[in-house]
Symmetry: C2
Subunit: 349 residues, 2 copies
């Protein structure tokens, strides 16, 4: 059955049931597993004109919004519905992680083509709900509209951070070292694999999973902020190269990135080498990694070690150092100094 | 020049300049009038991974999101860009008003077709910014994406309300009187006029303006909440009939609405009568009014009078009373009792 056949009212009721609704007007649907919601601070959830929450004392509120659009960020032919929903929240939680914030609440705005199956909508909601539960995020509101074109999912995520603990892009100074979490390039290679619809030994589920289900580095971001272990942070939504340029721009620094230190996902490297492409450039310019990049003064190394002892996964890798001349954005490779790619004009995301 | 020709970076810079950016990284564009922003409570605005704000002490946070989609909520052939932007914020501020909240912050997520002119984007941002300034709302973040289909504008609005002052849909009890603000039906008639592209003496700018530039009843909602003058409130996004049913559903009440009391916009009535249609049904089922409906116990009449002395525009009109039997949703007309229209299944919004 399609969404237009079901009608808006019944569709909304199904969505609410899956999100574990807390408003008075609706009943829980016993056939659906309802998440066990952390309702502390929730005053009014889904079902009224707006949601109402009580901010924690001594916390600032962190707000971000990001959309996933069919044909731009995903395609239904290779992204399962659950993964589309998972990803729609993940990219927002990644932004909160980059600020060092604890995610608390989310709003979900869906624009649905008339012919979309209700099953697909439920899959999207379930995937989003799965990640929400993992990070104890409660979906408190949203909106459902028709779309005369692509499927669109717009999520607003709300988090909290203690004053003066928030991580911005602008704090790095010359001498600070750059660390990146996890591995890079996997998601970009995975998306290429999915687009080419290739199968066989060359294709890595490790890469495709990185694209389909990004893992926002929520615990790491919070631990870094809590320990004051970094002077600047950003998440890698548009690639490591772009992220380094963004922090350098906002902080007024130059940068030396060491090509040999980059933690390129092994199966992504294999994929690109088989295609005759340079894995370093591909990994630096490929998007969708959703790892964190942090700038850490040498004197704070012990704090970072403490963070890594608390949050061991993903590991942090030192990949370079910020420098004085803001115009010098350098990739050091085999002893030669190249221009760091990534800060180009693009029309994407 | 189109958005894809300009490129994402430069487009973002233009949008930020128009919104009166507060982040460190960017310069104000001297050619553009930058709004004078109320920055109290703003910690980090547009330009980082997320925005950071300081909630007021003793306030709860109110969150809402609503999308405007080309071909569903507006059409570019008859909605000027400025009005599209104005409307995208207005529908969200109306939701905050219905909770009695003071609007504070907004996030703007745009999905833009490649061929859209940059002028149009600037118009949308300027229209949104105009209404934001009027209500001292600051746009603190957002997102710009490509759209392979229609233009979409998703706004998240954040407000504040004092605990126990918030207005919900669920508080009405039998005997409470229903009041609606302003006039109804104007926006629906205005949209019909625009769609038919008619011109001449039958067309009323009063109606088309109601559709193109809805005025969210922010001051009225805040005054009602502050004075505790209503037990329930809702805004009329999907028509008065629907709104009455929603409050009755959430409150477990029935309702008698007096057809002769409905404040139908005069030129809408004229329009529908000329078309041979029943103005009462058209006004009850027509959407986009964005007035407020409030449920007021008789004993609180003095409080409501106090509110009306403070906020004289729009006036409030008594249109009916809530009753005991939840299944009795009645329109009283010429002494006969009809079923109140509006609570039907639809696939709209």
């Amino acid at each position: 059955v399609t969404v237009s056949e079901l009608g808006e009212r019944r569709l909304l009721a199904r969505i609410r049931a899956r999100l574990g609704v807390t408003d008075r007007g609706s009943q829980r649907n016993a056939r659906v597993r309802v998440p066990d919601l952390p309702t502390a601070g929730l005053v009014i959830g889904i079902g009224d004109d707006a949601a109402v929450i009580s901010p924690n004392r001594n916390a600032q509120t962190v707000l971000t919004t990001d959309a996933q659009i069919e044909g731009v960020h995903f395609e239904r032919r290779f992204s399962p519905a659950r993964d589309i929903g998972y990803r729609a929240l993940a990219v927002n939680l990644s932004d909160l992680a980059a600020m060092g914030a604890r995610p608390r609440w989310a709003l979900l705005s869906l624009a649905l083509p008339d012919t979309l199956l209700v099953d697909e909508v439920e899959g999207i909601v379930d995937g989003l709900s799965e990640l929400a539960e993992k990070h104890r995020v409660v979906v408190v509101g949203g909106n459902v509209s028709r779309s005369p074109g692509p499927l669109m999912i717009d999520v607003t995520a709300v988090g909290e951070v203690r004053p003066r603990r928030v991580l911005t892009r602008a704090g790095a100074t010359a001498g600070d070292e750059l660390f990146v979490s996890g591995t890079i390039g996997g998601a970009a290679a995975g998306l290429e694999m999915l687009k080419k619809a290739v199968e066989g030994p060359g294709v890595s589920p490790a890469c495709t999973a990185r694209y389909l289900r990004p893992q926002p580095r929520v615990r790491l971001g919070m631990a870094v902020a809590q320990a004051r272990a970094a002077r600047a942070a950003i998440d890698l939504s548009d690639g490591l190269g772009d992220a380094v340029h963004q922090v350098a721009d906002a902080s007024g620094c130059g940068v030396d990135v060491d090509a040999s230190a980059l933690p390129i996902e092994t199966s992504a490297r294999t994929w690109w080498e088989a295609e005759g492409r340079d894995p370093v450039t591909a990994a630096l310019t490929g998007g969708d990694d959703y790892e964190l990049l942090v700038a850490v003064p040498r004197a704070w190394a012990a704090r970072l070690k403490h963070v890594q002892s608390r949050v061991t996964n993903p590991p942090l890798t030192k990949i370079g150092v910020f420098t004085k001349d803001p115009s010098a954005r350098v990739l050091v490779r085999n002893g030669t100094r190249e221009t760091l790619p990534g800060g180009f004009e693009y029309w994407r995301t």
